[in-house]
């Protein structure tokens, strides 16, 4: 029972924090959004720091690190509201390392580790909402391999990623596949998302695919749980920054001849934001520390974490805007961008209401962290 970071983890944190502070300021981010929401160059810089190999075993060219390191990196990227979908790299790395056959692993893991290949999860379907077990995509096995027919939505950098991890049904049971974006039968329609990043609708029409695993739902649930843990950690970084800029503003802004930080109603709002931030941070630790638990325990823990983080994200995002007064709703000032990022994170991998349902349906007689 120990929540300290090791020296190596602190060094990792420092490295990412420095990169964000020096190389990814708000103006660069704005420029990336203007240009479509994704910068291959910035992603390459993350690769240059070795980060794209974080979850990849050392034998496959990676760093062989685990959930706590992932959490530390995501928090720092959240602090800089970095647009490049690093969480997707962690998900893809874990899914391929953990579930793919040797041939697929040796073909893809080194390229992911080097940053040459960006592989993302393409699972969202129109009628599924947050129920990941609902899947209409279909896979058939013909003489020269698998082919997939599917429409997947809101795929992160779906018109620029190198490959997709796609759930599809095989004789009524979910399996997981890898599809290259440049394969025949793959079409995409890209767009910017509300938080300034990039996504796409991806259509597969008998597109050639490589099988990752026939135990698709098990793998997908694991991948989504990693995504949840990443979203939680990233949100903690965004919320930390949101609170920091709000404090700075309140300690500078004067009205009625005094600093607005002297008004009790606003001070209490800050206390409530701090409460939500610390509850969120606590549950982000919980989420990452439960990522390697047995599946049922992990699913339950991640649902609890996403519920708390969702509540916190909404509150901190909204109140950070509120406490800035008029400038809080402008595009020019950064706090609305923190708010929009928190909005996107709340929706990703199941929103607060969805995870409340998950917690509710998974409830046991016992209570507490160790129950």
């Amino acid at each position: 029972m120990d929540f300290d970071f090791t020296d190596d983890q602190e060094s990792l944190r420092d490295a990412v924090r420095k990169w964000v502070a020096k190389g990814y300021d708000f103006e660069r981010r704005r420029a990336i959004t203007r240009d479509g929401g994704f910068s291959r160059e910035a992603y390459g810089e993350l690769a240059g720091l070795g980060l794209t190999g974080l979850y990849i075993p050392e034998d496959d060219g990676g760093l062989g690190m685990g959930p706590v390191e992932g959490m530390v990196v995501m928090e720092e990227l959240g602090r800089g509201i970095v647009l490049e979908p690093f969480a997707q790299t962690l998900i893809a790395s874990a899914l391929l390392s953990g579930y793919a056959p040797e041939a697929v692993r040796s073909a893809w893991l080194p390229k992911i580790a080097s940053g040459d290949s960006l592989v993302v999860l393409a699972h969202q379907e129109r009628s599924a909402r947050f129920n990941i077990e609902k899947c209409e995509a279909k896979a058939v096995f013909a003489h020269d391999g698998w082919s997939l027919t599917a429409i997947k939505s809101i795929v992160p950098v779906g018109d620029m990623a190198d490959a997709f991890i796609v759930p599809a049904m095989v004789d009524g049971k979910m399996a997981l596949f890898l599809v290259e974006r440049t394969a025949a039968g793959v079409a995409n329609q890209g767009y910017v998302t509300q938080d300034g990043a990039r996504a796409a609708e991806v259509t597969l029409d008998n597109a050639a695919a490589v099988l990752i695993t026939l135990d698709g739902l098990t793998a997908l649930e694991h991948g989504v749980d990693i995504g949840i843990a990443c979203a939680c950690a990233e949100a903690v970084g965004v919320m930390d920054q949101s609170l920091a800029v709000t404090v700075e503003y309140m300690n500078t802004r004067k009205q009625f001849g005094v600093l607005i930080s002297s008004f009790q109603a606003l001070r209490h709002r800050l206390a409530d934001m701090k409460m939500q931030l610390e509850l969120a941070r606590s549950m982000s630790y919980y989420a990452s520390l439960k990522l390697n638990a047995p599946a049922e325990e992990r699913r339950s823990a991640l649902a609890r974490a996403k519920y708390q983080l969702g509540v916190s994200m909404r509150f901190v995002g909204q109140q950070a805007v509120q406490l800035h007064g008029g400038i809080g709703v402008t595009d020019e000032y950064i706090v609305s961008h923190y708010f929009k990022k928190l909005t996107q994170l709340e929706i990703s991998f199941g929103d607060t209401l969805h995870h409340l349902g998950e917690v509710s349906s998974r409830m046991q007689d016992t209570a507490g962290v160790f129950a």
């Binding site: 206390a271 409460m275 919980y286 007689d365």
Partner: protein, 393 residues
């Protein structure tokens, strides 16, 4: 970073659990598990059992007989007691006045008072708040005038928890009106059998007598009952606040009560009502989040790295959770929480409770009683003032 307790910590927990199960009287834990009335004898019996083991003062330094447990061990001890249905330890002696006597009292006072506290033989009360001094405690007026080798005490204390059982009371009294109010306060120990001390119970909204008013009418107190220096009492009182504060979150008891809530909801048929179930689910997450927060504070204390200055958050969230489970339990019983039958609050009552489920008898009273949790110990509004001050820097 690791969620699990170490093998040593696990072994310690098991040792405590075994001892508690062997030594906690079943009639007492039955009352605690069912929120039935605890008598003075019940509370003192448990205190003496702990005292005989040397565990009533379980946070005391080893030079004063404490077992020398670290923050995690103290947490595990408190948790196993709470989960087993042990009554709350009445803190005024072992947790509040004893550390002050140990830190600021002289050897004669330590010898005079500490053994009776450690054994659970002597019941202590706290004399801090007054009718005019609640959140603004420093404005207290209860006066102690030095006359030769005694103090003459005049005034009134309020909200004295279980003062009706108290044998000794430690008081913050005014010994000077010069300068800032905090600089004229002294810490005085008073024998409640002294002539001029009158205790009058205050009935709370749940019908129970949990707190009292205590009047001091020309009460003569020996000067050697003064702890430390005159006019330094505020410092000593603040010293207590600086102590380890994770048990203010009461998360151990909240886990136990959340499990009880689920049982009540099942018995009342609302556990399968999805709207009700979702409310329990929200509380479930709240309890996990609070426990994680407590564990983070304990871990920081254990390793000595970055201390987490968030005691206020523990108090705010802990009290809100207490209120919420009280509310949901009452809500589970619906209309059958309304009959107010005092006898049903006693263990072993054989009467017919309306609706047939005697477990519903204490629910409304508990809900009403728990409204105190956001008021006492520094109201949650005051706590937010303190938290925001830290955040604003």
């Amino acid at each position: 970073m690791d969620l699990a307790f170490t093998p040593d910590e696990q072994a310690f927990r098991e040792e405590i659990r075994d001892w508690v199960h062997a030594n906690l009287p079943a009639d007492i834990s039955h009352k605690v598990h069912h929120a039935l009335r605890l008598s003075k004898d019940d509370m003192q019996r448990w205190a003496k059992i702990l005292g005989a083991k040397g565990w009533l003062g379980h946070g005391w330094p080893t030079e004063f007989g404490g077992p020398g447990w670290n923050a995690v061990q103290k947490h595990l001890f408190e948790e196993e007691c709470a989960l087993a249905g042990a009554p709350r330890v009445v803190p005024f002696g072992p947790v509040m006045v004893a550390p002050v006597i140990m830190a600021f009292g002289n050897p004669e006072q330590q010898q005079r008072f500490l053994p009776g506290i450690a054994s659970g033989e002597v019941w202590w009360s706290q004399g801090y708040s007054e009718p005019g001094a609640g959140s603004d405690l420093a404005s207290l007026k209860c006066k102690a005038e030095r006359q030769g080798d005694k103090f003459i005490v005049n005034g009134q204390k309020a909200w004295t928890t279980l003062g009706q059982y108290g044998e000794w009371i430690f008081c913050l009294v005014r010994t000077s009106s010069e300068g800032k109010p905090q600089t004229g306060i002294s810490f005085l120990l008073i024998d409640m059998k002294t002539p001029g001390v009158t205790v009058r119970p205050i009935k709370l909204l749940d019908g129970e007598v949990e707190v009292n008013e205590v009047w001091f009418d020309n009460v003569e107190v020996p000067a050697n009952n003064l702890i430390g220096e005159e006019n330094k009492g505020w410092t000593y009182a603040k010293y207590l606040l600086g102590h380890e504060r994770t048990n203010i979150a009461d998360v151990n008891r909240s886990k136990r009560e959340l499990e009880r809530l689920k049982r009540i909801a099942k018995a009342e048929g609302v556990y399968d009502d999805l709207r009700f179930r979702d409310e329990i689910a929200k509380l479930e997450v709240d309890v996990v989040a609070l426990e994680m927060l407590v564990l983070r504070v304990l871990s920081a204390e254990k390793s000595g790295k970055n201390s987490l200055d968030i005691a206020g958050l523990l108090k705010i969230k802990g009290s809100e959770i207490q209120q919420r489970y009280g509310e949901l339990m009452m809500q589970a019983a619906g209309p059958y929480s309304l009959p107010f039958i005092e006898e049903a609050m006693e263990a072993g009552w054989q009467g017919d409770f309306p609706g047939g489920e005697v477990a519903n008898a204490p629910l409304a009273g508990t809900y009403f009683n728990l409204r105190k949790t956001t008021i006492y110990g520094g109201s949650n509004e005051v706590q937010r003032n303190i938290v925001s001050q830290v955040v604003l820097g």
